[in-house]
């Protein structure tokens, strides 16, 4: 089944045992993003640390792909700089559009999401948390595109 490309073991693992789920009390910016076609939702908070990196916390509900993707995002983007995070967001978008080959250094387990590119309807699920992070990080830092 082609599906196994999308639902790799590592994705299902993140889905069943999400990393970092739960909102922290302190935050500089909070965003709430939804996928209106299926009702997936995420609340994501970003707080600048003293060293200039950004701490992330989130709470969400949705399908395996959106949940796993948020868990992976936490692994990759918690306590990184705005610039590092932004380029990871750009990369995952490009990967899901098949414009770039998966880069494990940037995305970690996120490279396993590459199978989602075969199912255009699911790309939104995979990107929900990453777009939310970008939105919150811009608000928290005042940095633009």
């Amino acid at each position: 089944m082609n599906l196994e490309n999308m639902y790799q073991e590592i994705i299902l693992d993140h889905y069943k045992h999400p990393h970092g789920k739960g909102l922290s009390e302190n935050f500089a910016a909070e965003v709430h993003h939804v996928n209106p076609t299926c009702g997936d939702e995420i609340t994501l908070r970003v707080t600048p640390n003293e060293d200039g990196t950004l701490a992330v916390s989130y709470d969400n509900q949705g399908c395996s792909i959106s949940q796993a993707s948020a868990s992976i995002l936490f692994d990759q983007l918690n306590n990184v700089t705005f610039e590092t995070g932004s380029s990871a967001v750009d990369h995952i978008i490009a990967m899901l559009q098949r414009a770039e080959e998966p880069n494990e250094e940037v995305l970690g387990d996120g490279i396993a999401l590459v199978g989602v590119a075969q199912y255009p309807a699911r790309v939104k699920c995979a990107l929900l948390s990453w777009m939310a992070w970008k939105d919150a990080a811009i608000q928290a830092t005042g940095k633009g595109e």
Partner: protein, 427 residues
């Protein structure tokens, strides 16, 4: 009553000649979103374009005459299908536009009355005062909810709604209609729960306070015999594309004295009587509500869809769906971890069957079904408040129509089990 010959019906639908996802047989269980189209409908549209195409109600040439005749003949066919007069049928883009047409009649009458502008005789029925009430139900499609919310925001009217019981029925005792209740708008069949509402009971309550009743018939006209002369409502709205017809055409039926009393909605060419630089007067219904060059080919296609359904017999269509629904409900009840959202017995219910699978998100269920060639819809089905009411983020929904058979139901049941197995949930 003999049953539908599904094999023969399927032969009329070119789409069933193709396969999906790695050569799987297409099991199309998403007719609630839009139905597939038989060759007869496609041929009728093609014939219009190839042999009679012209702008309807314009031009002095033979083609214009033929196009106009075809368009008006289609209106008559569609009107007969629901027991109505042709002039009481207004063509719209879809049901959403038809429902907006009604809600905007209230807004436009209210705005014009406030400025003492001319209104059709009888338009007072559509003039709202601050504090007037509009009643909907908690099971409405967004198309029959958001337009009324907007109307309330703009006029100061108050939106109230009939709540739902735990088993997916209207809780008619959940609100009282009052003398301030001006309009009650409800769905005939819920697109998410499958519930077929007791329209007569709502009409009786509405009549007692002299409120108008609007019926969203999107999920009833395609699936069961509907006769407006028996329903007792004032308006019904539905879409052609869910009943074998083309995309881009919907219908509003209204009582003729009400349509005549309504100010126009979309304005421009075709809908006028006289035009001066300062102001204009408007045509009688239905033309008053059909501005611009109308969708004649789609009307002709929809009439062909009506002919197709008439040839099958709507009683048989309803009986066929009822049997498949019963089968599906039994099948789903037999899977551990599957819960139907909506009536669990095939009583006063149509073929929209929504369910959740414990431990699985609907999107993932839909994906595994899709891999097996089974097309279902996942999400909130444009009825988000219904999901909230039953505490589910979304559902998976199967809907059955004339071209579905027992094998399709069996495929669904097996498909759900496969999804459970794939994700390691259930038994």
């Amino acid at each position: 009553m003999t049953e539908l010959d599904v094999a023969r019906i399927r032969a009329d639908f070119p789409i069933f000649n193709r396969t999906v996802r790695n050569d799987r047989r297409l099991v199309y269980l998403d007719s609630g979103a839009t139905s597939q189209k038989p060759r007869q409908v496609l041929d009728a549209e093609r014939d219009f374009y190839e042999n009679h195409n012209a702008a309807v109600h314009r031009g002095a040439h033979q083609l214009a005459e033929e196009a106009t005749d075809a368009f008006e003949a289609a209106r008559a066919t569609i009107a007969r299908f629901i027991g109505a007069q042709p002039d009481d049928i207004v063509f719209t883009k879809n049901a959403t536009e038809a429902l907006n047409l009604v809600s905007y009649s209230f807004l436009n009458a209210t705005l014009k009355a406030a400025r003492s502008k001319p209104l059709p005789i009888g338009a007072e029925r559509f003039v709202l005062q601050e504090g007037d009430e509009i009643v909907v139900t908690e099971m409405e499609h967004h198309a029959n909810l958001v337009p009324w919310q907007e109307l309330c925001d703009k006029t100061g009217a108050v939106l109230r709604w009939i709540g739902l019981t735990d088993d997916g029925r209207l809780d008619l005792d959940s609100i009282e209609f009052t003398h301030r209740t001006k309009v009650v708008s409800l769905t005939h069949q819920s697109n998410l729960l499958g519930t077929v509402n007791d329209v007569a009971a709502v009409v009786a309550k509405a009549r007692a306070v002299d409120a108008l009743v609007v019926l969203d018939a999107c999920q009833s006209v395609p699936h069961m015999p509907v006769d407006v002369s028996e329903l007792g409502v004032d308006f019904i709205a539905w879409s052609g594309h869910k009943m074998l017809g083309p995309l881009g055409i919907g219908c509003l039926w209204g009582r003729s004295e009400l349509l005549s009393a309504m100010p126009p909605f979309i304005t421009g060419g075709s809908m006028i009587e006289t035009v001066h630089m300062e102001s204009s007067t408007f045509a009688a219904p239905p033309k008053r509500f059909e501005a611009g060059v109308p969708m004649a080919a789609q009307a002709v296609g929809l009439a062909a869809a009506v002919d197709y359904l008439n040839a099958l017999g709507m009683d048989k269509v309803a009986a066929h769906e009822h049997r498949l629904t019963q089968l599906a409900l039994e099948g789903l009840a037999g899977i551990k971890g599957v819960r139907v959202i909506g009536p669990t017995e095939a009583i006063e219910r149509g073929s929209a069957v929504s369910f959740v699978v414990e431990g699985l998100h609907p999107h993932d269920v839909g994906q595994i079904l899709d891999e097996q060639g089974i097309a279902v819809r996942v999400g909130h089905h444009c009825a988000w408040p219904v999901c909230r009411r039953y505490n589910v983020p979304a559902t998976t929904r199967a809907t059955f129509y004339i071209y579905n058979d027992d094998a399709d139901v069996a495929a669904l049941v097996e498909g759900i089990k496969a999804a459970q197995k794939f994700f390691g949930v259930g038994e």
